[in-house]
């Protein structure tokens, strides 16, 4: 049995502390996303909220795959679609009611939130995740020199297998639904262009 890298009590405290920071970050961004006056700024706050949820997926649900999907599809895809829709909807769509949304200096806030995420991600990736993995291995009595490399591969393999066997029908239906949604939205917008 290997010794713990850091005492388990301190490790648990660290886990709760990081969770506390993440909760403040995520719920604060969510609150700002529904409360700032400018819809454009609201979408930008939504991105930070989604990044916070992605970090919860990685650190507390133990899934790097969900982090990647969350960032690519949600934070990178849907929000950009929303920004395009706002840009195409004219200036009156930018603010919910007349009057500027000078709730705070938004440039400073965005820079702060982005910096907080990047610094947090850097620290977590450089220090905490290595510590946590080694701590986990040490607590299970596995030598960090030869960790069980197959764990991730087995998980991804199981995921792929279940997606095409047990949940195959659901995934197929989902594919048809997404195709229908894509064609439907293209038809909706294209029809209006032809009418104009």
């Amino acid at each position: 049995m290997m010794a713990y890298l850091i005492p388990p009590e301190l490790f648990e405290l660290l886990e709760y502390f990081v969770l506390f920071i993440l909760v403040i970050y995520t719920t604060g961004s969510a609150y700002l996303a529904v409360s700032v006056k400018s819809v454009y700024h609201a979408v930008l706050w939504l991105i930070f909220c989604l990044l916070g949820v992605a970090m919860i997926f990685l650190l507390y649900a133990g899934s790097a795959l969900l982090l990647v999907i969350q960032i690519i599809v949600y934070a990178g895809g849907i929000t950009i679609l929303m920004l395009f829709a706002i840009s195409l909807s004219g200036k009156e769509a930018m603010f919910e009611s007349l009057g500027s949304g000078k709730l705070m200096d938004w440039r400073l806030s965005f820079a702060g939130a982005f910096l907080l995420f990047m610094v947090g991600a850097y620290i977590l990736s450089q220090v905490s995740s290595i510590f946590w993995t080694l701590q986990d291995l040490a607590s299970r009595g596995i030598d960090p020199e030869f960790p069980d490399k197959a764990i991730d591969a087995v998980l991804i393999g199981q995921l792929a297998e279940q997606m095409f066997t047990l949940h195959g029908g659901t995934i197929l239906t989902l594919g048809l639904l997404v195709l229908g949604a894509m064609l439907g939205s293209v038809y909706l917008v294209k029809k209006e262009v032809e009418d104009v």
């Binding site: 529904v34 909220c49 009611s97 949940h167 659901t170 989902l174 209006e192």
Partner: protein
């Protein structure tokens, strides 16, 4: 690993309430869509956490989250298409102004 899953249920509840309050309060259709995305994310946290803390299977929960994210993407695409279409016809995206189906 934090032993108590109820913390995460609380976080999900908090996010859901923020999204719900935003949905009720907002008049802009785009902001309603933002609130719905926040509510969907709280549901995703619940899926992932319950899959980890119960014996239903870690992989099953992840598949549920992936399905939910794909559904959210489809919903956002259709929703934004409808918003653009309504804007072209009515010149506004305020949800209170859409009264064509009211009768």
């Amino acid at each position: 690993m934090i032993a108590d899953a109820s913390i995460f249920v609380g976080i999900a509840l908090l996010l859901f309430l923020i999204g719900f309050a935003g949905f009720i309060k907002s008049k802009s259709a785009i902001r309603m869509l933002i609130a719905v995305e926040i509510m969907l994310n709280s549901a995703n946290i619940n899926f992932a956490i319950f899959a980890l803390y119960n014996d239903i299977g870690f992989v099953t929960g992840q598949i549920a989250v992936i399905i939910s994210i794909a559904l959210a993407a489809a919903e956002a695409a259709v929703g934004l298409g409808i918003i653009l279409s309504v804007y072209r016809n009515h010149g506004t995206v305020e949800a209170t102004d859409f009264q064509a189906l009211k009768g």
